[in-house]
Symmetry: C2
DNA sequence: AATGTATATGACTATTTGGTCATTAAAATA
DNA sequence: TATTTTAATGACCAAATAGTCATATACATT
């Protein structure tokens, strides 16, 4: 049996603090955006002093991106899981659509933060962070474009630059999430999922396929 | 003949200043985003002192939204013009796609500002401004959804919530503009216009129509 | 030309806030 | 329990910057 040192009380508390700060940061950033979310608010919300934030995170930007990182990992891994196994490209597209729509339906605040980053922050943050995030997001686009490529090879989809198709799909999904947020729609997401699925497929399906 | 008082030198200069400040603001906001664009930078860029900015605009937010307003008007009126006359819904969709893609191809910086607003600023600005902007953008969505509605009535398009179709179209276009920006694509936009047109139409066209 | 009026200026103020650090408290260790 | 090590605190600092206002300048009017 491996010699597993028990965690000291110190380490347990530290881990707990870290998580509590991240949770608090996610909350405040989502609610107020980057600028309005002050370190004081985040600290207060987490029930620690401001100084403590700096024991666990280098600076505000660092905290921000670590807070996002977690959720983004969760999202990416959900998408990955939904593409496991050897389903048809059609089925995989459906899985992406429904996974993403449902995820953001449950995390509207996080969705806003994502838009926020894409639109604004890469003007206002060190390039370095934006690059890292882009890298993080890349697998998502890669997965989709791979599915499209499969579809092309199998002759289900018509010839198209797979990455562009991936962008199109991603934004089509975003558009309806945005629609739901702006119009405060509450009816089931399934309808919207079906709409996107249909439009996307019709757009890319080869005549006669499936 | 109406008694047209000539503008005094004062008034001419004032109008010139106003325009020069707006132009400068558009430039700096587009390049640096809202936060990083300081009033000092804008003033310097316009070749006036900071105090002068406040003679013409209430505050920074006001200047920002007025700067956007102009471009947005230009955009909306281009879209409107492209929809004038009684073309078929198909032709109109094509006009929207090509007008929008070409406009933003020429105004990438402004496109970023738009994303910026949509994503972030409505967390960080007085609600009031966001509402006004939303109102401003509304005609765009109305025009498109009207075209879709026409198409439905004429039996060209299949039944669909027109406003959702409008959102979908708008974001599909955005997605490829974004793609072009991120991948620094320089090949002609026409290809991308065609792609969107095809996907959108296939998605919404009734079987057998056109 | 002299006087009055509107505009421009930029040093200055007030505030906000990210980040620090000397001090205190708590936990590990001997 | 005494001592050492580590973590937490929050008053404090420095920098940035939106917005102001007394002064200076340019224009209009008589």
């Amino acid at each position: 049996m491996a010699e597993e040192r028990l965690l000291t009380k110190r380490e347990v508390v530290a881990e707990f603090r870290r998580r509590e700060i991240l949770r608090s940061a996610q909350e405040v950033f989502a609610r107020e955006g980057f600028q309005e979310a002050t370190m004081d608010k985040i600290a207060q919300n987490a029930g620690v002093s401001k100084g403590t934030l700096y024991l666990y995170f280098k600076n505000k930007t660092d905290l921000f991106f670590q807070a996002i990182d977690e959720r983004l990992n969760e999202f990416i891994s959900l998408i990955r899981k939904s593409l496991e196994g050897d389903h048809s490209p059609l089925k995989k597209i459906w899985n992406v659509v429904s996974t993403q729509m449902e995820f953001f339906e449950d995390h509207k605040a996080f969705f806003k933060v994502c838009l926020n980053i894409r639109g604004g922050l890469y003007l206002e943050h060190p390039q370095e962070y934006f690059e890292r995030l882009k890298e993080k997001y890349q697998p998502y686009f890669n997965e989709i474009s791979q599915v499209v490529e499969e579809g092309c090879e199998q002759g289900t989809f018509c010839q198209v630059e797979p990455m562009k198709a991936a962008y199109l799909l991603a934004e089509m999904i975003n558009s309806l999430i945005l629609y739901r947020i702006i119009h405060e729609t509450t009816n089931p997401v399934t309808q919207d999922e079906k709409l996107i699925y249909r439009v996307f497929l019709r757009g890319f399906l080869k005549k006669g396929a499936e």
